[in-house]
Symmetry: D2
Subunit: 419 residues, 4 copies
């Protein structure tokens, strides 16, 4: 039984107030799995560019839940029958859609996990919560994994126009100060409708959808793929790579780490690991930004030159130089940069930690397949690319790729011979 | 020598853009001492009430520097002679005014330091920076410590209407979503003037000043002294108290801590310590929120019941119950709460960690002495209390006191006999 | 019968969207009586101080209706039974509460009507609409005139915390740019509750109420009673006074006016006139700002020196000088001003049009009697003055009086002898 | 000589404050020609869609002057030499760029003037002011008409990225509540630079420029060319057409109008008229929205069925039905609509007033020729179409055309035989 005087209203600068509408949602918000999201920033290292971008996945998930409530009301007000169980399930599903995120999610997924996406972990955690809550999340899970027959619920959770994107563009815009990220979510949501079980946008909402697509495009160049963030993230990846190297070379005591974090540092964890060994999921639910930052701070004092140098640079925001290009970099350029680092005295076996090549794409922000459907006044449903006079709808949803190379411009006290 | 292409413009959601006006200011912003402020939240544990309140002292200090620039322009445009050296010094002084803050400043000052205020540490760090920058901060330091003869500079740095308060009310309002905190700093700054070397506000700015005082009052009750923040802070104080107890009982390895943090956990550090042993100041400049959070996370797994329970409660946001009163609590009530905890099986020697009495006041937010002066159209200068028809000017600047008691409502797995 | 595709959503910069919830409300919005409010500015001549303050009573009334809808939802969500008929009636009543306003309401009421308040005219028009809508407004009228037994509805329409004030402070703040007028109406509304049939505010809303009272106080000094508005309004009063004088002297063709306006210019109209002669109410429903402005423009070319001078001054924003005081002005001062005007050549019989004394109070913004009730956590209901530690609650609701004198500083082409 | 205590700061909700920087600018703002702009709404009849869109050309012109001041500071801070005379002249030119607008500018230009653009009238009025101010506006005029050799000044006044558009998108977005109109003008202005005398945008501002172009496109469909505005405007054009018809049929007393307005109603006025007969320009400087509204109100009572019906419909916001299409309408459709009106009893000679065909384009919002130039990091200057990966730059600046037909759906009391 739930206590009657639960606090159910939260302040939110983006929407004014967020009301937690049911006891079950309240209990999920209170659960340690969800509270962990307080300790995971939405935008990772973007704070190095936008000092205000410190908001968490906790806040974002609540915001998305709030917008889902608005979407439910809108659809009901247009005569579509949605039960209160469905409403709650949709809000649960969006509340928990990101619960499988770890700290610095992109970094983590690319270094410490082996082909395990945060969606898969979200699903594992939702099943675990469903067990703890005696099956109360079953409908939400079906909406989340796309097996519920009323498909529009899944679209509201994960598609071009889902409540996830609606909230994060607004929220990231608010906290970074990039005002162009604001998307008038309220307006788009008011234009949502159903044709059968398909989510559509009323024709008069086309301009708002175009604006939303444009805002998204602007945000990924201006924020999500900002070169300084890419650079800091590359450095963090090198840090973790070096820590794992040291662990594997010199044994488990070679570098400091919390027990949970150590589990993931020691070797890449697979989906099978998560499914067969409960301790991985347990450890994951204790993992957050602080595990990583505690290591960075501790490792800055580590005797290993590579590890300590990179960590101290991150702490002091002495970042690598970075160059971006639409083409892969010529071998000559990379050779020249290698030579530069050589001249600074850097041994060859350390080179790969201080000179990093890579690619950045907006793929993470663009759902691959699904389309935005527009409902015309005559009732016909067409693709937005056919409804708009704007030839760039396609461009707005293209995957774009940038090549980058980043490197340490100067290094102090390079050891004569290390290792 | 400074690189020519330094990035000198920052996005700030509160003011749009913040420009760093000079090379010296830029170099100070880049300095590790200042970068540390990126890792210290402005509002400590207020995020437990306002999930968006994650902004840092770094961002606040930049904002205050920005407002100081506006104040300088305003005063110059009214015909007062202010040199570019003075402008820069005033901006340096406000930029660094909070550099002596540690993590969870109030908690730290009350537990781990012995009568050392953050202002004193700020001054120590400014002197150290002055040494590193070959005396370039001398004028800023005189403005900061009040020895510069043109006293209005000190007023702009620390007084009822200083740029510190101007920024933090706006900024805290923005990030918490408590819109009433917004104070129209721009308007007040436009109304600033000088009479001799005294800072005054033009008569037509009275209402804005009243509004500012009111916003400040509202913010301290609604945010700074919110009962849930007080409660979480009390719990953190107990955590640190217990950790120190264990350290002193069982030796330096008894509890995990970073080297810097351990120095302050072992025993209360005094101003003399700082002045006579350089290692204290060095350690302080490496201390930030992450040191504390890393411990809380690690200590949640500690065998000591008190330490692990309190830390896990903080992590899961299972906070104490709290009661507030304008009067001290009756002994009967406290006895009854003690009995409750007893009935949960809590040994007597652990009681003080789970039942905490205390007081909260707005004193930290109210400069004690200085007055706000209003310049009438006839040129006379009078106190705002005489200029306003609002009898509550006094009230708005009163120190108010609340008594609180907070306690654990239920405890799991209390040990039969500990210690 | 209502058409099905009525446009029911309006853009509103203050709240995002305003939805017109029922057919009846929609038909009332469409009615010419209500559409007339599009042509009546909310703040009269305040645009001379705040150039953005051009919003209309039409927009305000819709905003108040929107807030009333939120208040209904809040009270229902707290378990109070409110029927859909009551909801609609409450929204009708607030939608129409200002329908009896004429152009430049204060000026009109003081010059052209004889003791007829806009509330009385609102009631007359609501009865007329009720006739046209076959009694559908009966409940709304009872709520408006205070005869409905559930008294909280009347409180929401007209009291210290009514939806009227909630909207106009927000809206006037938005359009003037006086940010301090924003009052967090959403927050206060969420704190509303009922005890019996009395409207109360939950204890945790005290600070928001204080902030609201303070914002109101600030707005009346900064906007509603701004000296420049007082001055422009005084000039407009002289214009109307002179026009009536000329009409009465020289007959109905002496000055240009629309037929409707002429009716009110010719002689002061009383409540009995309205009740006994239908043509007054008809004329009133055709009266708006344009009638007045058309005259000002036409009269600027009138051969009468007083009328044309005052009108041209208003058009060109060449306003009188004005002095304010908390005390009545000394006879000496007034004599001196009279002499000044004399020296400019102004004949004695024109003096009273160019030298005006008067008083301004905030009385219009302060409901006289009713109190704001706070519901404590223990269920007790007390007055806010007893619930707040702020001694100035009284001050915030005091009636304050300012004496003013305003006069033409220079006059061109004063006629040698007029009349 | 100017009085010393001129009020030089205005509240502006869009930018906070607008400072009028020089005495000459202040005197121009005070001039009756400029004060007239207080009485001309920026968006004409858009208030029928967006009830808050009541802001004036006065406010817009001040806002554009404010942004010009920011542009001057930015360019100076990048090392370009701009004298204080040039600064003032640029601000004068932008302040006065719209001074030749009449009421409901588009309607007026298309009905009452014969091929005279508002820019031509602006220039005439600037020359007249230059005469009155003894040549102080000469440089401003050269900037405005493009004869000043430093061409970037003209670009700032009139080009794709001029301060005019910067302000009106922001301001129209603010007052309509169409948040997508906000364009981060501050950001774009900070990115402005010069190469030689050509205005360019730094490469890192590309996204902001794209966003600006997109916002502009959105605003013209959502606001400037909103079908309801087109419809209301069409009706107003019919009103004026009918009034002129009656005037020409029945003589000068046939319809009410102010003397100034009558001059333009009687016959189409040409540029030669303005140049050769001073009374046209004089009359124009007395013309504003109130002249038109006064007529609409008066004409609603006129015995002519067409005139009174259209005017009353406008007053009561009973608008025509409207259909839009990307193709011209088929003759069949138009015939069918004619028949409908016939069946309502409308005589053939009135048909053209109640059934209107036309086209709407965004041409007014798109400067035809000039390009936006981007300055790459390597110093090269290229066209934005080549700098952006967005293929739709072209689309965003295309002229798009919509055909519309609008008609009265029902008519009351059609006279059996009129005329």
């Amino acid at each position: 039984m739930s206590a009657p005087n639960k606090k159910k209203i939260l302040n939110d600068p983006v929407y004014g107030f967020i009301t937690i509408p049911t006891e079950l949602l309240f209990d999920l918000v209170e659960h340690p799995y969800f509270q962990r999201l307080r300790r995971i920033k939405q935008l990772g290292l973007s704070e190095y560019v936008y000092p205000g971008a410190l908001h968490t996945r906790f806040h974002h998930a609540l915001g998305a839940m709030h917008l889902m409530g608005q979407a439910m009301s809108t659809l009901q007000s247009k005569g579509h029958s949605i039960s209160s169980d469905e409403c709650e399930a949709a809000q649960i599903a969006i509340l928990l859609h990101d619960i499988g995120h770890g700290p610095f999610s992109h970094v983590l997924e690319c270094c410490l996990l082996e082909g395990v996406s945060h969606e898969q972990i979200s699903l594992l955690l939702m099943h675990e919560l469903n067990r703890q809550f005696n099956g109360a999340l079953s409908l939400a899970i079906r909406m989340f994994d796309g097996t519920y027959e009323r498909t529009f619920f899944h679209q509201l959770i994960s598609s071009q126009l889902d409540m996830d994107r609606m909230d994060y563009l607004n929220r990231d815009g608010y906290y970074t100060g990039v005002a162009e990220g604001a998307i008038g979510a309220e307006r788009i949501i008011k234009m949502l409708d159903l044709v059968g079980d398909q989510l559509v946008v009323e024709a008069k909402g086309i301009l708002s959808v175009e604006n939303f697509l444009n805002a998204r495009r602007l945000m990924y160049w201006q924020v999500y793929l900002h070169k300084t963030s890419i650079c800091a993230e590359s450095m963090l990846i090198q840090v973790l790579r070096r820590a794992r190297f040291l662990l594997q070379q010199a044994g488990t005591e070679a570098v400091f780490a919390s027990a949970s974090f150590r589990l993931f540092l020691q070797r890449s964890v697979t989906l099978t690991d998560f499914q067969t060994n409960r301790s991985y999921l347990d450890a994951f639910t204790r993992l957050d930004d602080f595990d990583v930052w505690a290591c960075i701070k501790e490792w800055a004092l580590h005797p290993d030159f590579v590890l300590s140098t990179l960590c101290q640079m991150l702490l002091d925001r002495k970042l690598f130089k970075i160059m971006l290009s639409t083409e892969p970099f010529a071998g000559e350029l990379l050779n020249e940069l290698e030579n530069q680092l050589h001249r600074l005295g850097l041994p060859a076996d350390m080179l790969s930690y201080f000179l990093v090549e890579g690619q950045a794409t907006n793929a993470a922000y663009l759902p691959s397949e699904d389309r935005i459907s527009i409902k015309l006044k005559n009732g016909n449903v067409i693709d937005i690319a056919d409804a708009s006079d704007l030839s760039n709808i396609q461009v707005l949803t293209n995957i774009v790729r940038r090549y980058y190379v980043c490197w340490a411009k100067d290094l102090k006290a390079v050891p004569q011979s290390v290792n």
